[in-house]
Structure formats: C-alpha cells, structure tokens
C-alpha cells in the first residue's frame, strides 16, 4: 500500500515538474531568442541554445531606440508613485488607527468605498483633469492619478491597530511629538510591511500600462512598458530586437521578485485580505 502510494506520489511530482517546465518555457524561449542573430531566429527548429551567441538585439535596441530615456521615465514615475503612495497611506492609516478626530469614521468609509471604483472607469475624467492642469505628456501627469491606493491604507491601519495603545501614550508622556511616534515607533515596528508594500507598489507602477499609455503620446515621455510596444511597430518582424526590449523592460520587476520573493508574496496576500 505504502509502496503504491509512493509510486503515485512520484508520478504526480514528475507531472508537477513537467507542468512547471512547460509553464515557464515561453519565458526561456523569449530570453534565448534575444541571444540569437536575427536570421537564426527565423530558422525552423527547436534551437534551445543559440548556435551563434550575440547581443546584437540588445545593442540595436539600446542604440536605436529611446529605451534609455523610457527607462529613466519608468524609474522616475515608479519611484515617485511608490514614495508618495506610501507616505500618503501610512500617515493616513496612522491617523485613522491611533487618533480620535472629527470625521474619522466618514474618512474610513470613504476609503473603503473608493476600493469599489475601478480606475479604468475614470480614465476619461482623469485625462480631462490632467489636461486642465497642463500635465498631459508630462511625468507628473503619469504619476498623479496613481496615488490613491486604498488597500495600502487598509493594510497599514490593520497593522497599526495591532500595536498596543500604551506605546503611543508612554511616548506622549515622555514628551515625544506625534510625527516622532509615527516614524520611530509605528513605522519602525512595521518596517517589514513597509518594504513589502513598497516593492509591490513599485512593481505595480512599473507594470502599469493603460494610464501611461493614455497620458503620454510623445515618444520621449513614454514609460518603458509603453515604449517597447512602439519598437514592435517600427521594426515589424525582428523578434530578437523586440524581445531584447521586452527583457530589458521586465528586468527590474523580475529582479525585485527574485530578490524579495518572500516580501512580494507577503504583500500580495495582504492586499488580497489574507494575513500572511
């Protein structure tokens, strides 16, 4: 009986590995294509390893497109979104969790309600608003509509709620200022959550396609995720080049995930409402 189970278990494990290999294969296939010369790419067959190794695709993309510029734009906008979202959310979550003030319940309900409204339905009026501000085709115009992330506030509030009230009261008696308590006690004690939320917010901002695509029409102001779709238009069937751009665009988020795997997982669970 036990032997039979082991064989069955072994078979399931083999099947699992097979599924994983098939699932990840398109990633490998795209990556390996970028290291082949363009004429080898279109040869039929299953070239798992390049016959001729080359970085011509990357060289072409780096030299002949605005990708360096797009990269800078992506870094500037994603870092700005991350920093601003965390500051707005943490301080607001702190006030709702620790302070008793007029309108606290209303504010909390308003935050929960905004959770329901999908940002895609606001693209029209966001565009009108950014146009009124003169921010179309600017990086600020890309950043601004991404600043309301109710779930980040909700997560912060939950974690601040679980810190005993005594901490704040003792610090107040010792003469600490509110912002000092916020920073030195509450943020310090939740530094792990802050990193997790920062990474996930950064990945989200980097990957955002629709709003940067709508808010920007000039090539020079594009984010890299929007820009690489322009490379595609320009060169048609040149897969080594197109995919080189794709690999470069994916690199920061892929690295962020591989380095901070545990934090990314934690942040995703928290955002979905599961305390991990």
């Amino acid at each position: 009986m036990i032997r039979r189970l082991n064989i069955a278990g072994g078979l399931i494990s083999v099947f699992t590995v097979l599924c994983a290999v098939v699932w990840a294969f398109p990633l490998y296939w795209a990556a390996v294509t970028t290291l082949k010369p363009e004429d080898e790419v279109v040869q039929s067959g299953f070239g798992l390893i390049p016959r001729i190794w080359t970085i011509a695709g990357y060289a072409f993309v780096l030299l002949n497109t605005n990708i360096a510029r797009w990269y800078m734009n992506s870094i500037i906008t994603s870092v700005s979104v991350t920093v601003l979202v965390l500051i707005l959310s943490a301080s607001c979550g702190y006030a709702i969790s620790q302070l008793r003030f007029t309108g606290r319940t209303v504010l909390w309900l308003a935050i929960l309600a905004s959770f329901m409204v999908p940002t895609q339905t606001l693209i029209v009026t966001h565009f009108v608003l950014m146009n009124d501000f003169g921010l179309i085709n600017t990086l600020a115009g890309v950043v601004l509509p991404q600043l309301i992330v109710p779930v980040t506030i909700i997560v912060y509030k939950q974690f601040f709620d679980s810190i005993p009230k005594d901490y704040r009261e003792v610090a107040l008696i010792d003469g600490a200022k509110e912002y000092q308590i916020f920073w030195h006690v509450f943020i310090r004690m939740n530094w792990g959550i802050t990193t997790a939320l920062a990474i996930i917010t950064f990945i989200g901002a980097w990957n955002n396609f629709m709003w940067p695509f709508i808010a920007v029409t000039q090539q020079a102001k594009m984010n890299v995720t929007v820009g690489i779709t322009q490379v595609d238009d320009a060169f048609g069937l040149a897969y080594a080049r197109n995919l080189s751009g794709a690999v470069l665009a994916a690199l920061p988020v892929a690295l962020a995930y591989l380095i901070f795997q545990r934090r990314v997982t934690q942040a995703i669970m928290l955002s979905a409402g599961i305390k991990g």
Binding site: I12, S13, F15, T16, V17, C19, A20, V21, A24, P26, L27, W29, A30, V42, L88, S91, Y94, L99, R100, F101, L107, I111, S114, M116, V117, P118, Q120, T121, L122, I123, V124, T125, H126, V128, L129, N131, I148, E178, Y179, I203, F209, M210, I214, T225, I228, D232, Y239, N242, L243, A246, V247, A250, V253, A254, Y257, T265, M269, A272, G273, I274
Partner: protein, 289 residues
C-alpha cells in the same frame, strides 16, 4: 485637547484627503456630469439629459463589446480558479528549495508587464516561426494566425491571460491549503478515508472561502480587461475581441466623444458593482450550506 487632536489628525490625513478629493471624488462627480452632456473629450458641451443613456441602450457596438467582455469572463474566471487550485495542490505537496523553484516557474509571469507578456506570446504564436504552431497544426492541419482569426482570437487572449495572472491565484490557494490543519487528514486517515475522500470532504469545503475570494477578485479583474486585447488584436478581427474598456477608449480618445465615453464608463462601473454584489451573495449562501 480635542482641537489639538483634530489639528494633528489633519496634518496626517490632509495630504491624502486633498489627493482623494482631487484625483478621486472630483473625477467621479465630473464623470456623472459629463455623461449627461454631448461634450467632446476636451471642452464644454451642452446638457442633453438622458440622450446618451438612450443611445447606449440602442448601440449595437456597445452590446457587442458587453457580450465579448462576458465571453472573456466566461473563458477566464472559472478556468483560472480551477487551474490555480490544481497547481496549488500539486505545489503544496513539495517542500524546501524544490518547492520554491517550482512555485517561481508558475509565478514569474504574474510580475511581468503586460507588454512583455504580449511580445513573448506574439513570438511563441507567430504564424510562420512560432514554436507553438506545430501544436496548433497538429489539431488543425495548418498553422493559424490566432490573433487574426475570429474564432481563435478571444480564447487565445484568455489563454494568455490565464498564463500571465494565474500565479496570483496559486499564491492565495497555497496560503489557504497551508491553513488547513493536518489533524483533519490524520483523523480521516485513521477512519479509513482515502486520498480522494479526504479531498472531497476536507480540502474542498475548507478551501471554499479562498475559492470564493479568488472567484470574486477574478470576476472584477477580468471585466476590466483592456491591455492584452488592445495590444494583441486591437479589438479585431471584425470586432470579435472588442471589449467594454476599449469601447470607452475608442469613444473618448479616438472619436473625441467625452460625454458618451463617460456614459459607457458608468455602465461598466454599474455592471461591476452589480455583478460583484450578486456574486458575493451567491458565493456566501453556498458557503453556508
């Protein structure tokens, strides 16, 4: 003291409240207002009452894109939930670094930008050189330009979406499975229940709350589909993949009809709210049985 608290609170919440009013409340009110006008995207328009809403009701392409959105939801929501649970059951049996590697294989696509995902699949499914075309040819006898074929396009976009986003469901299911105490299985095994019975009578009922969560998140997410469709097919061929968000995009940014685009946006918003409340009720009552 109270006034001091209020002042402190204002300092902490002020920046968010300002952002909230400017970026969320104002655009929402503006959207409702816009939907009653014939305004272009930029600039003023005249108040036309419910004309946009009447037009919406009689708009063939609106119905077409609503139908397509539902078709896409049908092709993604339940399949991705089942696949996510199946993979989670498979991955959950493994342990240590081996599990981490297998999990990473399934999860990695989820953190990629959408444009990277579509570039990968355009290459994999390329009609002439795509590495997946032999598989398609095996069934159809010839290569298929999947994104230019009205029958293949939507299922293929759905397939790619599942490949791309399933890692998220997988994570939630794994967390759910880990929360089920081993004691239940031990007790059941002692009573002579086999693997299958354990799965049906322990795993399935106890994983149900996570399943309901995944279904709800997926439903809301997939109703808002735009990026993949726009990048892969632009809604074609012959509007076979035209979806609601793309219709908003078209009315606003291609046809310069701000008022009508606002009406379509509100219709989508209403649809999302109604469906998610409805689904929540249905799933909750099932969970109580």
């Amino acid at each position: 003291m109270d006034r001091k608290q209020n002042l402190t609170a204002l300092l902490f919440t002020g920046p968010f409240i300002v952002a909230y009013l400017v970026i969320f409340i104002y655009p929402t009110i503006q959207l409702v207002h816009l939907s009653f006008t014939d305004a272009p995207l930029i600039g003023p328009g005249a108040w036309i009452g419910f004309k946009n809403y009447i037009r919406l009701w009689n708009d063939g392409q609106m119905w077409k894109s609503t139908f397509n959105t539902f078709y896409f939801v049908l092709l993604t929501v339940i399949p991705t939930t089942i696949i996510g649970l199946a993979l989670a059951l498979m991955v959950n049996r493994l342990s240590g670094w081996f599990q981490s590697i297998i999990l990473a294989c399934f999860f990695l696509p989820y953190i990629l930008p959408v444009s990277v995902v579509i570039l990968i699949w355009q290459w994999v499914l390329d009609t002439q050189f795509g590495i997946a075309q032999p598989i398609i040819s095996y069934f159809t006898g010839k290569p298929v330009a999947v994104f230019r074929d009205r029958y293949w396009a939507m299922p293929m976009v759905a397939f790619i979406t599942i490949w791309w986003t399933n890692g998220f469901n997988l994570l939630l299911f794994i967390a759910g499975l880990r929360n089920i105490s081993q004691d239940y299985y031990d007790a059941a095994a002692l009573d002579g229940a086999g693997r299958f019975k354990q799965f049906v009578y322990i795993t399935l009922p106890l994983i149900w709350p996570v399943t309901a969560l995944v279904l709800t998140i997926q439903l809301i997410l997939q109703l808002k589909i735009f990026d993949q469709v726009y990048l892969l097919t632009q809604g074609g061929p012959a509007n076979a993949t035209y979806v609601m968000v793309q219709y908003i995009y078209k009315q606003a940014f291609q046809l310069n009809k701000g008022g009508y685009a606002a009406t379509v946006s509100l219709a989508l918003f209403a649809l999302i709210v109604v469906l998610s409340v409805l689904q929540y009720q249905v799933l909750r009552s099932r969970g109580q049985k």
